[in-house]
Symmetry: C2
């Protein structure tokens, strides 16, 4: 099979390429050029009926929402409702990170219910099923790992996280490190436990070519996961993290040689002043591969508000060149998110992506902001609501305190926009009364 990356390197302007170009407002030539180089990916499993989504250089920053069951809370209907809420408020992709219940069933139902690309972390299922059937996570064997990945590909999963950078060499560096929190990646931890238990190399790394074969067959995008990402700002930008990134950089090149699309996952927890360096380093090590960051979270002291912390980090990351932001909900570090948490997480991530797009893409991205400004100046509330990321919430705020004023209850008759209209219109100043 010819992958879209291979087609792009021969400059074939497929319908997918044209669709992405049109939805981004750029030329198909730009898309195909970047796709061929691996700076842009189009995330779609060939067997899945879903709108192709472009991620990467020169495109709008995209956002992902994680959903999925946990061992303690396993309710498929709840997860499907979360999926709907996430898509409603603007998630460009979803990841099903389920770890409780019938994993095949949940994944297939999510794939069926949404029209956006869906990603998974197959190693969860491999580890969990090994534990269920054989007694322990580390009892999964190499076949278990690859079989699950293939099963996800066959189900139509559009992108999968694979922790190929968790190598024996990098685990050594982790053990030598002085981290406060050695690891926070679940999938990464499964691999580290497996490597230490068996004293063997990570099968996904050792047999990376086989992984590429599976991905190639379905044109499924590989998201090279950062299993060794830092779990608090103290541990950010350290040896295990950067060593893993260097390993991943090599694997990016091997994937491209095979025509397999890759994106690269990044931290995580990063202090605000180290974000730019992290992005630039990833772009350099991974030859411009699209960068998918989790947050990043720029402080550890705001549990219950990590969607805000992630929005700060995500905005700066996207400004500096990150292409794909994984949302963080207010429930992060505390529990499985509710539907409301999913909504808040998506909106916060959307704000982060949008404010970076204004910087990255200029007026093309800021058009809606300018319309909002005009609606504000005209005190046209219906228009303001319609342009808001969350129209219902904006309207509810406005209506909380009914007022006869055309202005809001913050300034009432002293509304600056009302006053300045009158003053600059050289209207009768005696109307500026109270």
């Amino acid at each position: 099979m010819t992958t879209r990356m291979e087609a792009a390197s021969r400059w074939v302007l497929t319908d997918e390429v044209k669709f992405v170009a049109e939805s981004e407002g750029i030329s198909p030539e730009k898309v195909v050029r970047r796709l061929g180089r691996g700076e842009v990916v189009i995330v779609r499993n060939v067997i899945r009926e879903v709108k192709p989504l472009g991620i990467g250089k020169g495109l709008r920053a995209k956002i992902n929402a994680n959903i999925g069951s946990s061992p303690d809370i396993c309710d498929v209907e709840l997860e499907l409702r979360k999926a709907d809420v996430a898509v409603k408020y603007g998630a460009d992709t979803l990841m099903d990170l389920s770890t409780g219940g019938d994993l095949d069933d949940i994944r297939r139902r999510i794939l069926k219910s949404v029209n956006v690309p869906v990603g998974t972390v197959p190693i969860y299922q491999a580890g969990i099923e090994a534990a269920r059937k054989k007694g322990a996570i580390v009892d999964m064997d190499e076949d278990d790992m690859f079989n699950v990945i293939e099963k996800h590909a066959k189900d139509g999963v559009d992108f999968v996280t694979v922790h190929v950078g968790v190598t024996r060499e990098n685990v050594k560096k982790l053990i030598e490190s002085k981290r406060i929190i050695p690891m926070v990646s679940r999938g990464g931890t499964f691999h580290v436990a497996w490597i230490l238990h068996h004293d063997q190399e990570n099968p996904l790394y050792r047999n990376y070519d086989y992984l590429l074969e599976i991905a190639k067959e379905y044109d499924m995008t590989l998201s090279l996961g950062d299993g060794l990402r830092p779990g608090c700002i103290h541990d950010a930008t350290d040896v295990p993290q950067i060593s893993e990134l260097v390993t991943i950089g090599h694997l990016v090149e091997r994937a491209r040689e095979r025509g397999v699309q890759v994106i690269v996952e990044g931290p995580g927890h990063v202090p605000i002043h180290e974000i730019a360096a992290n992005i630039k380093l990833q772009k350099a090590m991974c030859k411009g591969a699209p960068f998918y960051v989790l947050g990043p979270l720029v402080t550890d002291i705001a549990p219950g508000y990590d969607h805000i912390v992630g929005a700060i980090g995500g905005a700066i990351a996207a400004l500096e060149g990150a292409d794909f932001l994984c949302y963080v909900t207010p429930a992060e570090h505390l529990g499985l998110p509710s539907e409301e948490d999913v909504k808040l997480g998506v909106i916060a991530a959307k704000i982060a992506a949008h404010v970076a797009d204004i910087a990255r893409l200029g007026d093309k991205a800021a058009k809606r902001d300018h319309e909002m400004a005009r609606a504000r100046m005209n005190l046209d509330w219906e228009k303001q609501f319609s342009l808001a990321l969350d129209p219902e919430k904006a309207q509810a705020y406005r209506e909380r305190h009914p007022t006869r004023e055309v202005a809001c209850t913050m300034c009432g008759k002293y509304c600056a926009m009302k006053l300045i209209s009158e003053a600059l219109g050289r209207k009768d100043f005696s109307r500026l009364t109270c």
Copy 2:
């Protein structure tokens, strides 16, 4: 009377200086040097009994919460409760922006009820009382303006916003500009209407020396207001804004010559990629004066979530050198904030200030983050709550889904921190079951 700035320029290490130095963890010599140069201010009216608060170079970024009545909603008790909530969650200062009811009474009761510096915008009261007594805002005369400022000073107000940069010359530039929203500053609008109506210069600018005399008598800090600040990202960093900043820069120097402390107010609405330039420009024009920014808001399309938008802008502003962040609540652009909105606004601003402090001040600021990381690694939930910005909210999230697991309901038995402790501890891997 000798002002603290004059004392500092003679290198006098007052108790105030020592108090600020100790609370910031820096040497009194550094504080006194920067105070003498005007790079740091200590905000306290000499007649008020309140802990002196340092704002400026090398100090923690501070945050302000705006409270106060509006024409539509005037409930003193509500405002006092908002004041308490703001201080509880970490507001370093409050501004009473009341525009409804008995303005003297509200201000005095707020001053009495809180132990943090309080600021006001006296022109509101001058304009509103002129409208009440004489018929129109523009009927206030020069004496009305100065008398209100003096009354606030006598009441013990610690800092006042004065729109001294709204000059005839700058209003001309505003009128020539192609802004979508000419103005959003209420106080600024009062001045513009007055200037156009009377065809005279702004009295606060014309008689700036008299303003300095009043400020000097009480060692009250002047916050030079940006009446011509942009009101949407489209209008950011334009001629009226920058012309006003240049005017303000001159006035900073005149204040320093008289030993009067000044801070400078800044936008407002600024796209993310223009924030750094705005901060650097202010620092250059105003010779390192502390910079007090409102937000800044980096998009216009998120009404109901402007506390998040402001946290993104504020974090970047403080990272780039802004010293003092005015919070924005989720009610911004929609209505007068409730107590809950005040809480959300303060926490968002606190996050912004803190994440910038980690960059500005290093481990001194990040100590609490590192403690939180240790508490997370130990799965010590009580310790995590005690270190959280909002302990009650964090605890409520954790307890939403009761679990028997020591980990949270996100990962349950697959908690990476639990698994990696076992794996790296070389414990029995068969315990990694499910």
